[in-house]
Structure formats: C-alpha cells, structure tokens
Amino acid sequence: MRHIISLLLENESGALSRVAGLFSARGYNIEALTVAPTDDPTMSRMTLVTAGREEVIEQIKKQLNKLIDVVKLQDLADGPHIERELMLIKVRAEEDNRPELMRLSEIFRARIIDVTETSYVIEVTGTGDKLDAFVAAIPNGLITEVVRSGPSGISRGAKGLTI
C-alpha cells in the first residue's frame, strides 16, 4: 500500500543523505521525496512517498525514527490528509494549438506562466492523479518537458506536526 510520511529533520548537512541512504541500504522503495526548510530555520520538513507491505512500512518508520537527525515522524496515511504536487510543463504552442491549451488550463485550474511565439510553460497544482490527468489531456506530441515536485502533504484538522 502507498504511504505518505512526513518528517521533521534537523537542518544539518547530511540529514538528507541519511534518509536517502537508509532507503537504498535496506532496499526500501522510495517513490518521491521533497524537502525544504520550515518556518523554524533549524528544521527541515520532508515528505516521502513509499509503498510496501504493512510490516515493511512499520520497519521504515522505525528505522527513520532511529536516525538521530529525525525529530518527528507522522504517517499521513493514518488519518485524513491533504496532498499537493506542483508541476511545470512546457508545451509546443503554435497558433492552432493555443485555444485548446488555454481551455485545458482553465479546466484544470492551471496557469500559463511563460509564453513565447512557439511555446507555453503551464503551472498546475494538485494531487498526483490530477497532474497525470492533465498530462494525458495534452494533445499528442505537444509536450516538450515535464517537471514535477513530488507531493507535499499535511494532515487535516487543527493538530500539527510540531515539536
């Protein structure tokens, strides 16, 4: 089953490689990983997407908690949560394609953020499924480049992952 795990990490050099190294050393599956500092500059927040049998996920969480740099861990799959992913997509946008691309952007609440005579860069935010659907909706052959951030996640409700 897919799990999305949130981590608060000490903002130390090497903290990211400890997490990444753990996954490669123990043969765990890692689908996506995002990390950036938080409002507290001494800590980073990481969102990590993995999949596996429940016993494996349990081990992953224990092993992550064992890392000295991991301050706190939450498995967002344990409760209601929100996931968002950012995608930047560059498409060929010549005269006859433009209306269709603009229509699609509107439907997906995407934004065109760069325009040249022959191209658009479109920004889309949403769940992974929505981004997949947007990519699938772009007419064949128009996509030049796709960049996805990997999901960031947060739990619903008033409680937060803080120390």
Binding site: E10, S17, E55, Q59, V70
Partner: protein, 572 residues
C-alpha cells in the same frame, strides 16, 4: 579557558574520563598529536594499522562497558577504520572514532589523503559528525559520547578538518555538563501494561524458554536476568553475543542456540510455547528458517531498540525499554502475584529437555591421537578455571570456543558476532589486556584469521601486553572448508592456507615467545607453562585435526529441529 581545537580534542577526552586512546598519526591529525605530546590526559597506544586501533578500542569497551576511543588520520586512516566501525556497529559497541580530515577550504578538491569520511561511515556508525568550527568541538564531543553510550549503543565518528585543530586559533572552552537532544530520546522504562501481559504469558506457560543476547550485557542486566531465571526455574539459551550474562556452568543453561547451538537449546526453542526474548535481534544465524522459528510459541521481546522488534520475526508482546529496568519490573510483578510455579508441567518440560540433553551433542573423539580443537578449548578452560577474558577471531575456532569455554560472567567473551570480522581477535585482546592489567587474557584464533592483523604483535611488544594467543592451526580456513565439504562436494576452492609462516619464529621475531604443540598430551603442561609467563606474550601454535567439523549444525534455510549432529551421533 582559551584552547586551540587540538587542545579541545585532548581536553574533551580527558573531561569524558577517557583512559586510553588507540591511534595512528598522520598529516591531518598532526596538530592533535602535538597536543597529545604536551598532555598527560590519557595514555596513547600506538597501533600498527588503523583497523587494529578500532578493534582495540572495541575490546576495551566490550570488556569494561565504557566507550572505547580511537584516533586516525584522513583518507587511508579513515578507510582502514571502516571495518572496525562496521564490526562495532553490528554488535552495538559504544566507540568514539576521531578522524582527521583535509582542511575545510580544500574539502571536495580531491586533496592529498582526502576521502568523504562521513559519507563512507554513515551506514556503519550510529551517528557521525563533520566539525567545521573549533567552537563546535566541545559540544560535538559531548553529543558523540551521549549518543554512543545511551539507548542501543554504537560507534560514533567525529571527522575534524586540519584547520579546525590549528594551534594558532584559540576559542573559549567549557565542556557541557549535560546534553539534551530533541531528536534523540531512548526509552527509559518499559510499558507496565506490556510487562504485565508478558508476566501472565510466562507464568501460565507449559513450556517456557528464555533466549537472550548481547543486549543483556550492554544493558548491565546479568544480575536481574539470573535472578528471574532462577526464581522461575526457566530453561535459558543464549546467542553468541549473550554468553556470560547467565552462568554458563549452571544446569538451567542449555548452551548456545542457532546454527552451531546445542541440540537441547535448539529443540527447546522449537518446542516451547512461550519464548521470552531479551536483548536479541533474531539474527539469521540464530533463527534458521523464519517460518519454522518457534512455531508454537507466543513471543515476548524486550529490547531498547524499537526497530529490532518484529523486524525478522513477528512478536506478540513487544516491550521497548532498557532490559535492566524491564526485568526488575518483570520480577517484581511475578513476586507480587505470589506465583509458586507450575510444578507438574515444568517437571514434564524439564524431563523433555534432559532427554534432549542426554544426546551429548557436543561429544567428540577424546581418544584421538591428533589434537581435537574441542580438546584444546576444554584444556584451556580447565587450566584457567574458566576465568579468562577470551577474545576470538572468526570461524570454527570461534564456534568451538563458544561451545566449550563456559563463561560465568559477562564481558569475558569478546568476539565479532554480527559482522564476523576475521582479524578482530588479536587487536581486541590488546584493548582487553590494557583495561584489565594483571588479568589473564587470551585470544583464540585460526591460522587464517590471525594473519589479517598480525602486525599488532609489534603493538603488544611496545606496550608489554602479555596476551596468550591460542592458534588452532588446521591449515584451512576451517569454516569455509566445512561448508565446501558439506555443500560443495569437497571442492576445497582456495580454502587451504598455503605458505604459512613458521609461527614460532614469527612470534620470536616480534620479541615474543612461541610454542609449537602437536600432541594432545603436551597441551596441558604447555598451556600451564604459557600462562605462568605472566609478563610475556606467548603464541601457542596448536596443530589440530585438519578436518574436524563444528557440530551440531543447522544448514542455511533449515529450522531449529533440522540439526546435523556429528556423524557418529546422527539421528537415526
């Protein structure tokens, strides 16, 4: 107090109460060595290879419970230390390894003797640090010692670039009295509700069994363990790492379990209905085939490390906490219940165990004209009254020692269990001997293992370490040969150790005493003579039966009940 980075390194070690530092100088640690030259803070032991430094610190730590300290230079100094770190990490030994690094401005430029030490050692340390500012040194040392020695212990490496120890840059120094890390809080006690559940299971068990490991030794819980096992009249087995935390000569002790465990220990594991696992990690050499492991048992697991629980084997009652406090609570609850035992059932279970024990699975040919390795260990045991600090290398001799030398106290049996590091025995014995001056220390080894760190004979001479080396010389990498005999149709591929040195001359060339022993009847008098030389290292080259195998044996992928016994005692 204003100190340079190099002086801080020395002062911090002194403030931690470090007695010995095992090290080898080099370019990146020259400032530190200069500070050591001017200080009386601790004794520095010059080794002959950095692997020896880390193993020696490891032996010091395992035999005392205090953290061991090693100091190495950058590049090859650090890479040579890696085997020692991995060895200590697998067996949860608290070490502080200090490595020099090239100066911060040239890090990443492929400078002379530069290597990414924190990158290389990340997977084989509990934690590691790269210190880029002398003002951070004191706190980093405090953190390192704290992390290494608390929770599940382990090695911590501190990598220090040369400019950080510059003697011309001084900073104010005060060693922190205590430290609290928001991201690291090992459990201080077990959950009482869980302990109650465990007590209920054990008191109601018909066929209880106790299985303990290195965690009981690291957790200093031998006394509590012994009291509980005695109080409840439980049968107990131990892993290779756990030997000594329950008296090996006691009748409730069934011997070691696992691949080369005793028949009675493994059968009792297979047949038990409640398993109390304490400070263990269900290693594959212990469990055998996982889906045949303790098939009828409810399993209780006490461990300080949550990630050890249900890692390999599903556990019914997990208890996370220090084994000492958990066992205290456990025994208190048993006594509060005024439990008096389940006499009839316990009698039946003990009868069954005695039947298994009566197979005498460790018997061997005592009338052989060759020296049997088992006989050599038994003789060693007898002439030392079981009071040795015994280190071991890795292979058949290690298993024979674990089977035949009975340890009645913890921290007496020092060997590389998890990583299985050949070459560990001699350097670790140096650390043990320094920690226990005047006490008998021996290293049991094989002619293949000993050559992996033989250079440390020079360290032993320099520091007057009267270690007794008992080399069981069978001319083979014995364990490799045994597997080739059993599973590769006797194709002895590269397991014969050709061109062996003359070990007596070798020992003598280092300034030690050497002995060749070839006849069983010579063994006892020669060993007595060797141990009587209290101030000399004696190297006993014992020529043993070259094709003796270690039995019992569970082949890979088999359950505990599928043991090979020695051919003459094989099951009908």
């Amino acid at each position: 107090m204003e100190l340079s980075g190099a002086e801080i390194v020395v002062q911090a070690l002194q403030d931690e109460g470090v007695e010995y530092v095992f090290g080898y100088p080099g370019g990146a640690v020259l400032h530190i060595y200069d500070a050591i030259f001017k200080s009386q803070a601790f004794k520095h032991v010059l080794v002959r290879h950095e692997q020896g430094a880390v193993h020696a610190a490891d032996g010091y730590s395992r035999s005392t419970g205090k953290p061991g300290v090693a100091l190495v230079t950058s590049g090859p100094g650090a890479t040579n230390a890696v085997t020692g770190l991995a060895t200590a990490y697998m067996d949860s030994v608290p070490l502080i390894v200090i490595s020099g690094q090239v100066p911060t401005p040239v890090i990443g430029s492929d400078a002379f003797q530069e290597v990414d030490t924190v990158g290389i050692t990340r997977p084989c340390t509990k934690h590691n640090f790269l210190v880029k500012d002398p003002r951070l040194l004191a706190e980093t040392f405090k953190r390192a010692f704290h992390i290494a020695t608390t929770g599940r212990p382990g090695p911590v490496l501190i990598d220090i670039p040369k400019d950080v120890t510059d003697p011309n840059v001084t900073v104010s120094y005060e060693y922190p009295k205590s430290i609290k890390l928001r991201s690291y809080n090992p459990a201080q006690a077990g959950h009482l509700g869980q302990i109650k559940k465990a007590v209920e299971l054990v008191t109601k068990a018909e066929r209880p069994m106790v299985y303990t490991g290195g965690g009981v030794i690291h957790g200093e819980a031998s006394k509590e363990l012994t009291e509980l096992v005695k109080h409840m009249n439980l049968p107990i087995t131990q892993t290779l790492m756990g030997l000594g935390s329950y008296p090996g000569t006691d009748k409730q002790f069934l011997g070691m379990l696992g691949m080369h465990g005793t028949y009675e220990a493994n059968m009792a594991m297979h047949e038990c209905d409640v398993l109390l696992a304490i400070g263990v990690r269900f290693d594959d050499r212990v469990t055998g085939k996982l889906d045949q492991f303790c098939p009828d048992a409810a399993i209780i697991h006490i461990d300080i490390d949550p990630s050890s629980i249900s890692k390999n084997v599903r556990v019914d009652v997990p208890i996370v906490g220090p084994v000492k406090s958990v066992l205290r609570d456990f025994l208190r609850l048993v006594k509060e219940e005024s439990w008096t035992g389940n006499n009839q059932l316990q009698q039946l279970w003990w009868q069954q165990i005695e039947t298994w024990r009566s197979r005498l699975c460790l018997n061997y040919d005592r009338n052989s004209s060759k020296i049997k390795p088992q006989f050599a260990i038994e003789t060693l045991y007898n002439i030392t009254n079981g009071e040795l600090y015994l280190t071991s290398d890795v292979g058949q001799h290690q298993m024979f020692a674990a089977q035949f030398y009975k340890f009645n106290e913890p921290r007496r049996w020092i060997n590389s269990g998890g990583l299985g590091t050949m070459g560990f025995g001699l350097p670790s014995a140096m650390g043990v001997q320094l920690a226990h001056p005047g006490k008998p220390v021996a290293c049991i080894s094989g002619e293949a293992s000993i050559l992996m760190c033989i250079q440390e004979l020079a360290t032993c001479k320099q520091h007057d370490l009267p270690i007794k080396i008992v080399l069981l010389n069978n001319g083979y990498m014995g364990m490799v040969r045994q597997w080739q005999e059993m599973f590769y149709d006797k194709r002895y591929s590269h397991s014969y150790v050709e061109a062996l040195p003359d070990f007596v001359k070798l020992a003598e060339s280092f300034g030690h005493v050497g002995m060749n022993l070839e006849r069983p009847q010579d063994l006892e008098p020669a060993m007595r003579e060797a141990f009587a030389m209290k101030d000399r290292l004696v190297f006993m080259n014992v020529i043993v039966d070259p094709e003796e195998n270690v039995y019992p044996m569970i082949a890979m992928g088999q359950g505990h009940h599928n043991m090979h016994l020695a051919p003459e005692r094989e099951l009908a």
